[in-house]
Symmetry: C2
Subunit: 183 residues, 2 copies
């Protein structure tokens, strides 16, 4: 059971049309017309991609059993036909975050920032998948991919605004918000 790899490749091909690329903090990413989410056992990254970010689906790092059961009961799968909107949000946290111990990171993440509790409020409307990058030697620590219906655009905007106001986000040193629509 090896974690699945993913590559997000921006360029001329891909199932998603890039609407906006906005740096929330730190350096942005180059503009491109399309985004491909390539995931699973074997895939080819398109030749001539403008940028590619690799990640891996891995084990849960913070969620406890009660929270996990709530998430599983409420969350939706990726790929729903009505999910014509998507967002890719790569994030890098500070060195100070990574020097914290597990209990300190968990306390900031959930007890003080309610990252999981806030996300739960937007389920099942906003489907979400987290990928880890840091151990791969990436310039990014995580990628989160979101899918939602056109009618849930405002809800999604509200979700990311609420998360960016938390104590956890003081440890974010780079974040780019990429919005896409399905071709």
């Amino acid at each position: 059971m090896t974690p699945d790899r993913v590559s997000f490749a921006a360029g001329d091909v891909g199932d998603w049309t890039i609407e906006t690329i906005r740096a929330v903090c730190g350096q942005t990413l180059r503009a491109a017309p399309r985004l491909a989410r390539l995931e699973g056992a074997t895939f080819q990254v398109p030749v001539g991609s403008i940028w590619v970010i690799d990640g891996v689906r891995s084990n849960d790092r913070y969620v406890n059993r009660v929270e996990k059961n709530q998430l599983v009961a409420r969350q939706a799968e990726l790929g729903r036909s009505e999910s014509t909107c998507g967002a890719l949000i790569p994030i890098t946290k500070t060195a100070a975050w990574w020097r914290l111990t597990q209990d300190e990171r968990r306390a900031i993440f959930e007890e003080r920032s309610q990252h999981i509790a806030i996300g739960l409020e937007y389920l099942p409307a906003v489907a979400r998948r987290l990928y880890h990058c840091r151990d791969l030697g990436s310039e990014w620590d995580f990628l989160t991919w979101f899918e939602y219906a056109d009618s849930d655009r405002e809800a999604f905007d509200e979700l990311v605004v609420r998360l960016r106001e938390t104590e956890e986000w003081r440890y974010v040193e780079r974040e780019v918000d990429i919005r896409v629509t399905r071709n």
Copy 2:
């Protein structure tokens, strides 16, 4: 701050002479005369290596602040001149382990198996460094590298026996114990 990569390469070169390679459970690794620990920004894996295992030093996953402070106060660095003995122990845990949530894994790891508390008893005699492999797509989940003096061989044997008797070890599906001495 990207995590440092490591490669352990077994073959004809390396600072350590391999004494024994023993499968504790699962498939063993091939015999070889020498072991090299290659770590840091840039290194070349020796051509013709018999096997190579890659890992990454990453953030702590289970330790809390109180435990971390105890570890830092007592632990020794790698590379002590009296540390003429070493051990490399690659481990793979079961799919069932990885399906557990963070609180469940922590409870098994420390509250019920006392992994950290047992290790503390052998500090500073046994210096230790953990590397993560799982997210790299490796067949291994972790590597632990140990260094200790010849006079602490028995203590080290006792340490690994005690850990292997814990509830945590019921989730180990592959483990190889490689003992080395410094050339």
